[in-house]
Amino acid sequence: MHVSIQQLNKSFGSVRANQDITIAFAAGQIHGILGENGAGKSTLMKLLSGVYKPDSGQIFINDQAVTLGTPRLAVQIGIGMVGQDPLDVPVFDVLENIACGLQMPNDADIRQQIIHWSTTLGFPLQPDQRMRDLTVGQRQQVEIVRLLIAGSDVLILDEPTTGITAAQVAALFAALKTIVATGKTVLFVTHKLDEIVALCDTVTVLRAGQLVGTQLAMPISKEAMLTAMFGEFLTHPQVPANPISTDAPRWQLHDTLLHDTTFVLGPLNLSLPKGMIIGLAGLEGSGQRVFMHHLAGTAHPDRGHVHFNGQPLMRANPLVAWLPADRLHEGIIGAMSFSEHVLLMRDSLLAPHQTAHTKAAQLIEDYAIKATPDMPLQQLSGGNQQRAMLALIPESAQGILLEHPTRGLDTVSAMAIWQRLQVRRDNGATVLFFSADLSEVMQYSDAVLVFFGGQVSHLLARDSLSEEVLAALIGGVGFAEVSA
């Protein structure tokens, strides 16, 4: 199916998210959509999948003008979108999730189609698996199969490789190639150049809501793509690692057993020193999140204690800042403004609005957040929400825990965020983060903890590691030697 767009415009308040976009996507190809944060990629895809309605302009399917209106209508016309976070019903099984949105609820037929598509695409899916038992990567696979069964001819994937394992990325890429071989069209939104090179037939670059040049046929050099994205390119400075300090530790765990509803981690014996950036490396779901919850004091060990600054951590501690990956659900309050967040994190009985407003304006400038102090944070792009969360970390924080700190952020924003975290580290804070991106772990950590098989390694100096060694450890090769 051939999709084209004429003069499409979409604004949110004074922000022009998409300006005069005119482009065509040929059938049977994978089209990369590239751009930095807030460039308008997600907006464009939401316009195409019926989530948003355009302010002006037209969308054509096979040269026929269409009004998409709703996701349901878009799916009926043949456009399906896999969102950044899979939306499904956790208590349903795979079959129920796929069947509930379809118009021909014939279980036997759907079951057969699930098995057919899973086999064709190489996804290890069973119709009777419960969604809540699946990983994010598997839920994404269910979503793709669901859209295919619903008859989608155009599949849109928004940053699909964040938060899934390398094996799942490989499976996804192979599956997408199989899908376009049948004449379907794939729109692949990403900010990762490697993925464009590895997967896409064409690339479309957006910058500040506008199309940069025209659609380019691959191969294109990474330098050319970067220039199109940013208009400039900044090289990565090599960051020297701090040595592992022997001062009194920030966090200490002694024979401590951590858990959540399905997962047990430990027993752990660990000392996490002051003034370090510590990367948590491991496959998705190896216990990093459980670990962070306990370090934040929002979960409590089955056995033993987590000590922070020598004191057992019994509840959330104001000196520990935790920045979750699910920003709008756990991180910030979408309906409240940045000013109100500044106020919220202060401890005074009467709320002095004027000072909070001034402070908010200052932070917005310092952190280059595209927002006004009074704008509800839900109106900001993902990257700006992330910057807002970082800006809100109190100066007094001695422990900073981050899930995917630069997920969905462009290179320049990511570097800016790391510079700020390094300043915090140099002031004595201990920064822990986990990231699906091994090169990020290698580039910014002073030391690394590897998570594997319900255990955690001892603290490994970054300079003793290489990306290859780390990759092996994550897969369990040689893990026994470093296990604490």
Binding site: T298, A316, P318, W322, P324, H329, E330, G331, I332, I333, G334, A335, M336, E340, H341, L343, L344, M345, R346, D347, S348, L349, L350, A351, L392
Partner: protein
């Protein structure tokens, strides 16, 4: 100014739709529509005694609605408001039963109101505790406790506190005359209730909109997870907001005992709490509009009492109109895709 106009446009249209549907219903019933609306909207204001009856309804309604905006702000749908009002009345009665001739009356009045507030707060806290620690929805817990409260009042009226010799739905032995709150000459209205209601309105308004406490309560209501992450003591704030709501309802119950019924009747709440829910649904956490909307509802309800006599129309049309207004506003909001904030 422009944004205020836009914000007002939706409610005005919704009101229009609700009035139109009510008019159609009145037409179908063969009534004189204009006359009926005249009585509904103006009937409560024609004589001093009617105005005083309207204010007697307005005071407890305002207290409940003010309390509910607090619990709404905290994201809690406190459907237990009627029960909290009932136990407030029970607690007030318990305190007043200790009165003996010659005791200082003012102490009994203050004590009764405080007992009512305390008991209402406790009743609301039970709901909050069940939600927090037993994962029972506050909606079901609240409804359940309404029946428990009604059961308690019935038990006392027909059991330990019954009039010597007679047990009747009309209530317990009346309070000593000295304990009746003074009324305005020629009416049944005591000014204490509306004054206290307005005092509570101002206090809650300031708390929710202009204090750090209120900001934290609203944050909990909008996103409990995010507010916990940012260091808001969410459990405490939720409990406090629920307790404040229960205290408002309990105060309303206590004032109904000493100012209106002058004895414990089983039906202390008499649907006022539920009407308060309608008001709170309309204004959500925005305390500024509570007084206006509660006033409007009180006028319609009081006015409707004259409908059967004046125009042979059943007074339940006022409930229909109120329900339609709330429904129309909620539909209008949903169409605009607003957050339930």
């Amino acid at each position: 100014m422009k944004t205020q106009f836009v914000a007002l446009r939706t409610p005005v249209i919704a009101m229009g739709v609700a009035l139109a549907i009510t008019a159609v219903l009145l037409l179908l019933a063969g009534a004189d529509v204009l006359a009926a609306f005249g009585v509904l909207l103006g009937g409560a204001l024609t004589t001093p005694s009617r105005i005083s009856d309207m204010l007697m309804l307005l005071a407890p309604l305002l207290l409940c609605a003010v309390g509910l905006t607090t619990s709404f702000a905290a994201g809690q749908y406190n459907l237990g408001i009627e029960g909290q009002m009932t136990v407030g009345g029970v607690a007030a009665m318990w305190w007043l039963r200790g009165y003996q001739d010659g005791s200082p009356v003012i102490l009994y009045w203050i004590g009764a109101v405080l007992c009512g507030m305390l008991m209402g707060a406790v009743w609301a806290l039970l709901v909050a505790l069940l939600k927090r620690y037993m994962h029972v929805s506050e909606i079901f817990a609240g409804l359940g406790f309404n029946f428990v409260a009604l059961g308690l009042a019935l038990y006392l009226v027909f059991g330990p506190w019954k009039r010597p010799g007679v047990a009747s739905m009309s209530g317990t032995e009346p309070l000593a005359d000295a304990l009746w709150l003074p009324t305005l000459t020629g009416t049944r209205l005591t000014l204490v209730s509306p004054i206290l209601a307005i005092v509570m309105l101002v206090i809650v308004w300031r708390l929710i909109r202009h204090t750090h406490w209120g900001l934290q309560v609203r944050a909990c209501g909008l996103s409990a997870l995010a507010s916990v992450r940012m260091g808001v003591p969410a459990t405490r704030r939720t409990f406090e907001a629920m307790a404040l709501c229960g205290a408002c309802a309990g105060m309303a119950g206590a004032l109904q005992i000493i100012g209106v019924y002058h004895s414990l009747v089983p039906n202390v709440a008499s649907g006022i709490g539920l009407m308060g829910l309608l008001v709170a649904l309309l204004v959500r956490a925005d305390v500024r509009w509570v007084a206006l909307v509660a006033f409007f509802f009180a006028i319609i309800t009081s006015g409707s009492i004259q409908l059967p006599l004046a125009l042979s129309i059943d007074s339940s049309i006022s409930g229909v109109l109120q329900g339609l207004i709330v429904l129309a506003i909620i539909v209008a909001r949903a169409r605009r895709g607003e957050e339930a904030a």
